[in-house]
């Protein structure tokens, strides 16, 4: 119990204050408070409650079904360019906000994905998810989207390589969350 309280020492007070704030906003009919809850919080909360449990179920299934050797072979330390392309492809077909990429990154790393590829995965996930691209093209045009992606890919490969080197040199770890 004590370790749980310590682990979430910032989170529980924030949640408690927010619950009290929203509760009293509705009670006293305080509009900004109601707006924060209805327009902003609820939108993120819905996304979180629908997408994340589903994602974690997929992560769990992936964990029990896919053997480490296979991951290691395809996107591990010796996978080279092919490995990079594979993690990018994996990232592009997903959906969800930035924080949804971290648990997947943990799983990939645990299964033997190289650090460089883990970071390329995170950048690719945030940059060019196909479900989001249709939105981007609709509002900003094909030319903008294609240019942005073509320019961003080398930049995030570079970031991935730098991060991967740093990660290995400092013997960093990815935790279970």
């Amino acid at each position: 119990m004590k370790t749980i309280l310590k682990k979430y020492k910032f989170d529980f007070p924030i949640i408690l204050v927010f619950v009290l704030f929203v509760g009293s906003s509705f009670y006293f009919n305080y509009n900004p408070g109601k707006q924060i809850f209805k327009d902003n919080f609820w939108m993120f909360f819905k996304e979180m409650l629908v997408i994340l449990p589903v994602m974690f179920i997929l992560i769990g299934l992936f964990d029990v079904w896919i053997p480490k050797e296979r991951i290691q072979k395809h996107i591990g330390n010796a996978s080279g360019l092919k490995g990079m392309l594979l993690v990018m492809l994996l990232a592009f077909i997903q959906a969800g906000p930035l924080y949804a990429a971290f648990p997947v990154a943990y799983l990939l790393w645990k299964k033997g994905c190289s650090p460089v590829n883990v970071f390329i995965y995170i950048s690719a996930f945030t940059t060019a998810k196909i479900p989001m691209l249709t939105f981007e093209i609709g509002f900003l045009g094909v030319k903008f989207s294609m240019l942005r992606i073509l320019i961003t890919i080398p930049v995030f490969i570079l970031i991935g390589i730098i991060m991967g080197r740093y990660f290995k040199r400092n013997k960093c770890k990815i935790n279970e969350g």
Binding site: M55, I59, I122, Y166
Partner: protein, 159 residues
């Protein structure tokens, strides 16, 4: 979103038919991870909701539209790093920004930092990667976004 649900349901069914025990074990593992991160997730989206209340669309348009030159890049990168907007809000907003005269390269910086840098989601990232790695990744992505914007400006200038 629907396709994600459909694919998951299908995979769970197939997995269940092939091996019941393994499937339950996998779902259990996944959901435990979800509940472990849930308090941090909740507090982060609470903070984002409050910040978003103070940073309205109008404010963003005013800020990004008025500035020119390097200042526009810096403010686009800063605003993009701090805020976390879902795509269905960010892209319509970017469309409005373009119509009100903001250049495509500034928009590229805004979109890139919005997606790659997450200052408000740092508490979540730290749970997985630790503080130091998290900060380095975010700083690198911040400068990466500025590089993307500069190259975009250059390409648009050449075309």
């Amino acid at each position: 979103m629907q396709y994600l649900l459909a694919i998951t349901a299908l995979l769970v069914i197939i997995s269940f038919i092939v091996d019941r025990k393994k499937t339950i074990q996998g779902i259990h593992k996944g959901l435990i991870q979800f509940f472990r991160i849930l308090p941090t997730l909740l507090s982060v989206i609470i903070i984002i909701s409050v910040v978003l209340f103070f940073v309205s669309d109008k404010l963003l348009i005013e800020y990004l539209g008025k500035e020119a030159g390097l200042g526009a890049y810096i403010s686009a990168a800063t605003i993009g790093s701090v805020s976390l907007l879902p795509g269905f809000i960010a892209y319509p907003l970017a469309g409005i920004l373009v119509q009100s005269g903001v250049s495509y390269s500034v928009i590229a910086v805004f979109i890139t930092t919005l997606m790659m840098v997450g200052i408000l989601t740092i508490p979540i990232e730290v749970r997985y990667f630790g503080l130091k790695t998290t900060i380095i990744r975010n700083v690198l992505s911040f400068f990466g976004a500025i590089i993307v914007g500069t190259l975009m400006a250059f390409t648009y200038y050449l075309m």
